[in-house]
């Protein structure tokens, strides 16, 4: 298949890429743009390690083609931090020990962030459902649930914007 030009906006930065139209979004983010925070953990859209935000929606970036994201705003884990200041969800992850090996963390943070954009007063069960698409093999999820609860409660301030 012939390569084509693609304009993608990732973390507020516009990239002009010359890629095969069958490239997955995760491949373009990792291999072409070089943002390797986003991971891949399966080949079956099951694990959520590659989750990114497209506009404000969490999307598994192995499940769509890069060309489908043209003209949309993509946020990866690298885009959560603003001017060297961590986002509330990142600070909450640190405080609550919501990661161990860290391989699912990028996708998990993004799923939590997208969840919090839509759910201002979430229940524990709601949070669990919100991150059900992301597998974490290390933490058992409960520390992640606590981090999301803490952010929703307003324990962390937005800085750096």
């Amino acid at each position: 298949m012939e390569k084509q030009l693609l304009k993608l906006v990732v973390n507020g930065q516009e990239y002009v890429l010359y890629i095969s139209p069958k490239s997955l979004l995760v491949e373009v983010i990792r291999d072409h743009i070089g943002l390797t925070g986003t991971k891949r953990g399966c080949d079956t859209v099951s694990c959520g390690a590659c989750t990114v935000m497209i506009d404000d929606m969490a999307v598994k970036s192995c499940s769509i083609l890069a060309v489908q994201a043209e003209g949309r705003h993509i946020t990866t884990v690298e885009g959560l931090e603003k001017n060297g200041k961590l986002a509330p969800i990142q600070k909450a992850f640190l405080d609550h020990g919501s990661y161990q090996c860290g391989f699912c963390t990028a996708g998990m943070l993004i799923s939590c962030e997208a969840f919090l954009k839509e759910n201002f007063t979430p229940t524990k069960e709601g949070i669990r459902e919100g991150i059900e698409g992301n597998i974490c093999r290390c933490t058992g999820y409960n520390s992640i649930v606590r981090a999301v609860e803490a952010v929703a409660k307003g324990d962390y301030r937005e800085e750096g914007t």
């Binding site: 953990g41 079956t44 884990v77 992850f93 161990q100 999820y141 520390s143 992640i144």
Partner: protein, 758 residues
């Protein structure tokens, strides 16, 4: 107030910023200049002779740079039990024979992963298919096909553990019960699949990035199979996306990338797909367990006899250790007058089995703790009190095996008893099951034949007081870098943010056996404490020299404050002392060294953790679906070091152990794994986790740094049996096979109803 200023305080993981910002670079992310991508061709047959491999067409595909087969290797049969030649049985690229579906046969390097994958279809392998065998009880039959020459009836390893007079002890028993159990396998399912980047350069040196639990083991094992000096191999594992016991043996990724790189003189990267990770790594050891237990009517334990046949799969791996440990921990945490264990590890034409978090103990407890529960029911005894009556205590000696220094199991019984009582009678098909366990804090055995200390550490203090801590211990997500930084900070009298931990690089870090067998907190912790104390002593010598205090006064550093212990208010800044000390040493940095090797600590481990877990389960009788509702774990890990890390270990172990109990099923048909993907292989997800609070029991382990012992692995042991026991109390059915699938519950209920009708 705590006597510690850092230990057991709230400390962020030292790798935290890197991990929550996406800066942490895993082997999966490594890209070197000129790097090629490798793919592995795998055997479609469970057992076959390799007659010929023709890869000439693959080489013609544009973009393919090279292909290797067993013929490009030295043909060394390797294994992690390298002290025992007959247990070194695996050629990762076999020369003449494959023994399981998925075993590597050839590897291709190309300019892209896609081209390498296409090239696999162009390799023509001629096989002579051999008869195969998949289950240990079939493989020990006389007529079964032979997997490895010289292993009669495919018995790979046997282990015998015995103490007391077992026959006499059984005669004393007033009640004897025997059961057969089946324990499934389990995939480690690390989020980062096996991955390696190897780079061999014309100076004869090999650098390997590897997702590894023990860079030192990789260095040693690679040297053996590649014919290189250990010192000419550098293994780097800065960030590792999970291990759980599956990443400290040579795997196809590291071996094939190294062989390709040595042939092609280019860096080669191999990353397993999730399917490859399922079918061609190793797995938790499936076991068939026969257990016979004799007790007195008042619940006093007399004797136990166990016979175990484990499905070893095609090669030894760490399975030989799992075979011993399952037999030892099957006795835990109880005192048996007579105890006998016979374990047989049997080769079959399936995925090799090995260590996985719990290391044989989850299987042992699945059988032991359920049978004990059934005995209490048979005899009308209280499950907690019967366990308590027979439990280990501080100072108890497991005959000929181990001496228990610290043991908090008795307090665990108190905590869980109270919790269960408060729950009261539960409605519907809900019930609580309990299960006890214990685990080791590092292994004493040296089958790897290392000439080095088991753990080592170096502490360097810079002019500004910042500290470089070099450890060979490996952080695989369990937080060992943080735990060791805490120990270092406490011992030196500084803060965690003063410490920079250097790990995961054989070129700069001292040798250490790495992350397995729950060894790092105790062993590497002791080494770090010694190194920090060595450095501190050098500082305090200078402090003494100029203090002017009466010689009977002791000086110390705490929280960056140098002072006389008797007069803590009078002191000065630690950084000031560092400057003086370095000047006094002709400008040399302060360097402290530490090491640890267990001596005179029995056969197994220097120290043991203890735990009792209660799990509340709700079962849908129609569908057999299990829901975990609530839980409590009482846990004795000695002095907790890393508070946040400890909670994480407990919760994580629970999710993995519960998965083993009722979700993670590995069905094989004719040697083929039927669900090698994350759609069909179920792991715990957030919606399935209950709350898992922990009650830490206060004990002090004299052999551990600051009284600490293991905390992360033992907690994988009790959960499956606790779930089984909850089901027993809710429905009155005995589940003898794990994982417990819904259809098994439905069938068991049907069988029970039929029996009751008769």
């Amino acid at each position: 107030m705590s006597k510690y200023s850092v230990i057991n305080t709230h400390v962020h993981n030292v790798d935290g910023i890197a991990k929550v910002t996406g800066r942490a670079t895993y082997t999966f992310d490594v890209k070197l200049p000129g790097m090629l991508y490798g793919k592995i061709l795998r055997s479609p047959h469970p057992h076959a002779k390799i007659l010929n491999i023709d890869y000439s067409s693959a080489l013609e595909l544009p973009g393919v740079i090279g292909v290797v087969t067993g013929k490009d290797t030295l043909g060394v049969k390797q294994g992690i039990w390298r002290r025992f030649q007959d247990l070194c049985d695996e050629q990762i690229l076999p020369v003449d024979k494959v023994r399981y579906i998925g075993e590597p046969v050839a590897a291709v390097a190309a300019v892209s992963e896609e081209i390498a994958e296409q090239a696999l279809d162009l390799i023509d392998v001629q096989y002579e298919v051999l008869p195969a065998v998949y289950e240990p009880l079939d493989a020990i039959k006389k007529e079964a096909p032979e997997l490895h020459a010289g292993f009669e009836r495919n018995i790979n390893v046997t282990r015998h553990i015995e103490w007391g007079n077992v026959e006499e002890a059984f005669e004393e028993a007033e009640y004897v019960r025997e059961d057969w159990f089946k324990c499934g396998g389990q995939a480690h399912m690390c989020m980062e699949t096996r991955a390696a980047v190897s780079s061999y350069t014309p100076d004869g040196k090999l650098t390997v990035y590897h997702s590894s639990q023990s860079p030192y083991y990789m260095q040693g094992l690679l040297a053996g199979v590649l014919g290189l000096k250990e010192g000419n191999i550098r293994v780097i594992s800065h960030y590792v996306g999970g291990g759980f016991g599956g990443k400290f043996e040579l795997d196809g990724a590291i071996f094939c990338s190294a062989v390709l790189s040595m042939k092609l003189h280019r860096p080669v990267k191999i990353v397993f797909t999730r399917e490859e990770d399922f079918i061609a790594t190793k797995r938790r050891t499936p076991m068939s367990y026969y257990v016979r237990t004799g007790v007195k009517k008042d619940g006093t334990f007399c004797a136990r006899e166990a016979k175990v046949f484990t499905n070893g799969g095609a090669y030894t791996g760490m399975g030989a250790t799992a075979l011993y440990l399952t037999g030892f921990f099957h006795s835990f945490p109880y005192r048996w007058k007579g105890y006998r264990y016979d374990g047989y590890r049997v080769y079959t034409n399936t995925l090799p089995s090995t260590s996985m978090r719990g290391f044989g103990a989850p299987q042992a407890m699945w059988c032991s703790e359920q049978q004990i529960e059934w005995i209490t029911a048979d005899l009308g005894l209280d499950p907690i009190e019967m366990r308590r009556k027979n439990a280990h205590y501080p100072g108890y000696e497991v005959p000929g095996q181990a001496t228990i220094a610290s043991c908090g199991i008795d307090q665990c019984f108190d905590v869980v008893q109270k919790w269960v009582k408060e729950k009261g009678k539960l409605p519907g098909n809900r019930a609580v099951g309990i299960s006890a366990a214990g685990f080791m804090s590092g292994g004493i055995f040296n089958w790897f034949d290392t000439p080095y200390s088991f753990s080592s550490a170096v502490v360097t203090i810079n002019y500004d007081g910042t500290v470089e801590l070099y450890v060979g211990a490996q952080d695989i997500g369990q937080g060992s870098n943080t735990t060791l930084a805490i120990i270092c900070a406490e011992a030196l009298g500084v803060r965690v943010e003063d410490i920079k931990v250097h790990s995961g690089d054989t070129e700069h870090c001292p040798a250490d056996l790495g992350a397995w067998g729950s060894r790092q907190t105790l062993m590497a912790g002791n080494a770090v404490k010694m190194a920090a104390e060595d450095a501190k002593k050098q500082l305090l010598e200078v402090a003494y020299a100029q203090s002017g205090f009466n010689i009977v006064y002791d000086l110390d550093i705490k929280n960056r404050w140098v002072h006389a212990i008797a007069r803590p208010e009078r002191g000065y800044d630690y950084a000031e002392l560092v400057k003086k000390a370095i000047r006094g040493k002709d400008g040399q940095r302060i360097i402290g060294r530490g090491h640890y090797t267990p001596h005179g600590k029995g056969m197994i481990s220097p120290a043991y953790s203890y735990m009792l877990q209660a799990v509340e389960v709700d079962i849908d009788k129609e569908t057999g679906k299990i829901k975990l509702v609530d839980s409590l774990t009482a846990h004795d890990c000695g002095q907790p070091i890393n508070r946040l890390g400890l909670i994480g270990q407990l919760e994580g172990a629970f999710s993995m152990a519960a998965g083993y109990g009722y979700l993670e099923y590995m069905p094989y048909e004719d040697g083929k794994l039927m669900n090698p993907n994350l759609v069909d292989y179920k792991v715990m997800r957030a919606t399935e986790m209950p709350d898992v609070p922990v009650a830490e029991i206060d004990t002090y382990e004299p052999e551990g740094p600051y009284g600490a012992k293991e905390a992360g692995e033992g907690l994988t042991n009790p959960t499956a049996a606790a779930i089984g026991n909850a089901i027993f109390h809710a429905l009155g059915v005995q589940m003898k096979e794990c994982p417990i699938r819904p259809e098994m519950i439905v069938d068991a209920l049907k069988e029970k109803e039929e029996k009751e009708r008769k």
